[in-house]
Amino acid sequence: MTVRVQSGDFDAGVEMARLRAGDARVGAVATFVGTVRDMNDASQVSTLTLEHYPGMTEKALEDIVAQARARFDVYDVLIIHRVGELKPTDQIVLVVVTSAHRGDAFDACRFLMDYLKTRAPFWKKEQTPQGARWVEARASDDEAAARW
């Protein structure tokens, strides 16, 4: 299990290959990549700044991974979340799950993202033509996490 918070970009292909390297039990690799959109709530977004709470972030992500492992039959999990200043089309977050079968891989990947969105201490601030604003939390994210 690996959890990384970093300002630099990541290569999803390299990370997927590394996570399952040499593990012949793996029959499924599910990957999610979140990226920066250029529009949010009807405003043009020129820059997205991600901040977090160092120390708590890593613990929160590790706790989320532990919960996924308890619920689903998975072999390994990787989460990378970027912080700092990002531009539209940039990658923000990567989740990779390896499992014997696709069902657990898909479910665990979705669970991890739903829980990350509502439990990991990250915050987004957008730069728009109307000025800078903190992104509001969405009720739909709480509903997505509550399904599990």
Binding site: G34, L50, E51, H52, Y53, G55, M56, K59, H81, I92, V93, M113, L116, K117, T118, R119, A120, P121, F122, W123, K124, K125, W134, V135, E136, A137
Partner: protein, 100 residues
């Protein structure tokens, strides 16, 4: 019985509990500071910190008012108002998270 006092300029006593208070993201900007050290006495709980901060009025009373969507972490884990505090603890105020 818990007696709690709180000073902006800490003057430690034998029973003083020093707590680092951290404000994240939008709260940091609304309150005009990233962190501060509070000194409390007796056997303080998180609720005592919240009460003392609200008593400052203005932005603190507004942002930390009952019903506001603010979560509180104690030493990097989510906590409840009745959590007790020890010397050196870190209490953080978190607005709703928006990562991913």
């Amino acid at each position: 019985m818990t007696s709690t006092t709180l000073a902006d300029n800490p003057s430690p006593t034998a029973t003083a509990v020093r707590v680092r208070v951290v404000y994240l993201a939008r709260l940091r900007e609304a309150l005009g500071r990233a962190d501060e050290t509070l000194v409390l006495e007796g056997q303080p709980r998180i609720a005592d910190v919240v009460d003392a901060l609200r008593a400052r009025g203005d932005a603190f009373a507004r942002e930390l008012a009952p019903g506001r969507a603010v979560r509180i972490a104690l030493n990097h884990a989510l906590a409840t108002p009745d959590s007790t505090l020890r010397d050196g603890d870190e209490v953080a105020f978190l607005p709703p998270v928006t990562g991913g």
